[in-house]
């Protein structure tokens, strides 16, 4: 076959969110790739300017479902820095616990998705089954499985009880056991290795040049981790290793993620052991004094960046969000080179893309007074009936027929 252009997306089974990749193929080999982003823009940056800080916090938390805590913490750090709030240490520890639990849940989720993309659904089912343990823990600690809503300006909304901390340790033991098993599977199952190694090669120099972040960069031996380089919340008190790998491919990215899982369990044990007593929140002013702050956060997918500019009112002047996937997407085209069509899903999945994070801005609907026409159930019903009537369906005859049948 001559060169063929294959659309992967905006709607495609391999993509869980709409985004468009157009791939030019020669036979099964990829020649080039073209990305069109922006299908998921919701206008969050602009909308943040129209909301007070409390409202904006919940909006920012919903930039992404998987790394919701990352975005809300990153945003709140910036706001707290501008306001000059000293967040109590216990609150910082609780934020860190939730952050690491989120990383565990995100990486296990990724492991399952990776399995699915290469047709290994069993891995998906098992990884997601085990992930339920983290989800349940998160639900117990914060109230909800996603969009935890634990943060508030000046601290956290809910304290963690000693029983919950003990339960946390037990969960960690179970998960550590399971992760060890997955490491074993990843290093021994031949079909898995065949599908992952050598795929999506990203050389160290390219990773640096194209600004890759997070596990994607670390799998290309870029030793960069915001938790260590620019410690925030409670990370400066923790002893952990930044996992890097020299495979430079999807297999390396898998090893980095499972390696990070093992570090997460350790970190949570340290956090539980060290958590100080005290209040979990300080009183925050409604109006934040003028100023600006730049905040970085190591989300499960990589470096998340928020810039907040305050102007002295209760609303932010400007909120800028750069999610990790946008930084990583630059390198995807490079990774695609000389790979097969069959590798496209796993290469895209290997950066753990989160397109809803990436795109934030398109149509602003004032939440208070939506101008969009919403059809009520009744109106929809009427519309459907009208449509069918126009198609020549006679409801009277149908109803008569139906009632005749019912009588018989």
């Amino acid at each position: 076959m001559a060169n063929v252009k294959i659309p992967i997306g905006p709607q495609h089974p391999a993509l869980k969110e709409p985004e468009s990749f157009t791939i030019t193929l020669n036979g099964e080999t990829i020649i080039s790739m073209d990305v069109r982003l922006g299908y998921n823009h919701r206008g969050i940056e602009k909308a943040c300017e129209e909301r007070n800080y409390i409202q904006a916090m919940y909006l920012v938390e919903r930039v992404c479902g998987i790394c919701s805590h990352s975005h809300s913490t990153c945003f709140i750090q910036a706001v707290e820095e501008i306001a000059g709030l000293a967040v109590p240490p216990r609150a910082q520890y609780i934020r860190t616990i939730i952050a690491e639990l989120e990383r565990i849940h995100s990486h296990l989720l990724w492991l399952g998705v990776a399995g699915h993309e290469i047709g290994f659904d069993t891995l998906l089912m098992y990884a997601w089954r085990d992930r339920e343990a983290v989800m349940d823990t998160l639900a117990a600690l914060t109230g909800n499985r996603v969009n935890y809503g634990i943060n508030t300006i000046g601290g956290v909304r809910r304290d963690i009880s000693p029983e919950q901390l003990a339960g946390l340790l037990k969960t960690m033991d179970v998960l550590e056991e399971r992760t060890k098993y997955y490491i074993e599977v990843a290093s021994q199952e031949i079909t898995l290795i065949k599908r992952l190694s050598g795929v999506g090669y990203l050389a160290h120099e390219d990773a640096v040049k194209l600004g890759a972040v997070g596990p994607t960069a670390r799998a290309s031996a870029v030793d960069r981790d915001i938790r260590r380089d620019d410690p925030y919340i409670a990370y400066k008190d923790l002893d952990f290793k930044v996992i890097t790998d020299t495979h430079n491919d999807v297999y390396g990215r898998t090893l980095v993620r499972v390696g990070e899982l093992m570090q997460c369990y350790n970190m949570i044990r340290q956090l539980v052991a060290k958590i100080p007593d005290g209040p979990v929140t300080v009183k925050a002013p409604r109006k934040i004094p003028a100023g600006e702050a730049f905040s970085r956060y190591e989300a499960p997918r990589g470096e998340d960046v928020h810039y907040v500019k305050a102007n002295g009112t209760d609303k932010a002047e400007r909120v800028k969000i750069r999610a990790p996937t946008l930084a990583n997407l630059q390198s995807v085209a490079k990774m695609m080179e000389n790979n097969r069509l069959a590798d496209v899903p796993i290469i895209i999945a290997a950066i753990d893309p989160c397109f809803s994070c990436t795109d934030r801005m398109v149509r602003i609907h004032d939440a208070g007074h939506g101008r969009q026409e919403t059809l009520s159930w009744q109106a929809l019903h009427t519309y459907s009936l009208d449509w069918h009537r126009k198609q020549g369906i006679d409801f009277k005859a149908l109803n008569a027929k139906l009632s005749r049948r019912m009588k018989l």
Binding site: R51, N52, I54, Q55, A56, M57, Y58, L59, R62, T122, L123, Y126, R129, E132, D136, A139, A140, L141, T142, G143, N144, N147, G149, T152, R157, R158, Y181, E184, V185, S187, Q188, E189, I190, T191, I193, A367, G368, T374, S376, W377, Q378, H381, L385, F395, L398, N399
Partner: protein, 141 residues
């Protein structure tokens, strides 16, 4: 080391294990204590400060004064994101998060929940505390 079918033993033992699937909706899930479900409004406690309205990220709460020191609350559940910020904001604990989570509706208007003010002892006690307007579309109407 290479091992084809590495997961074989694991999957075979699964045959004799209970499935991990929760058979929802036949089996209901127990919500944690801190779960943030549908918000409940207790009218007598409300002082009408409207702080909840100001902090609600989606403007889904409307508190209206219906009488002397009497307030009714209207929730647009289709807008509510169940963050329970209003519960934290309320200075008088007039709002609380319940464990109710099965809130999906086919009819848009059922998502509007009104918590009427408690009737004063003098008036009729028949008014329901919670009320959602109902309307059923007729088939083929």
């Amino acid at each position: 080391m290479i091992h084809p079918g590495k997961m074989a033993r694991e999957v075979l033992t699964s045959l004799f294990r209970k499935p991990a699937t929760v058979l929802y909706p036949y089996v209901k899930v127990q919500m944690p204590d801190r779960f943030r479900g549908k918000i409940k409004f207790t009218s007598p406690l409300c002082i009408g400060c409207k702080l909840c309205m100001r902090d609600c990220p989606t403007n889904c709460i409307t508190i209206t004064k219906v009488g002397d020191k009497q307030f009714q609350a209207e929730f647009d559940l289709d807008r509510c994101i169940y963050c329970a910020q209003c519960v934290d904001t309320c200075p008088k604990k007039a709002l609380e998060a319940t464990a109710e989570y099965e809130l999906a509706q086919l009819q848009h208007d059922k998502l509007k929940v009104i918590f009427h003010a408690e009737p004063t002892p003098a008036s009729s006690p028949a008014a329901p505390a919670e009320h959602a307007p109902q309307s059923q579309p007729a088939i083929g109407a």
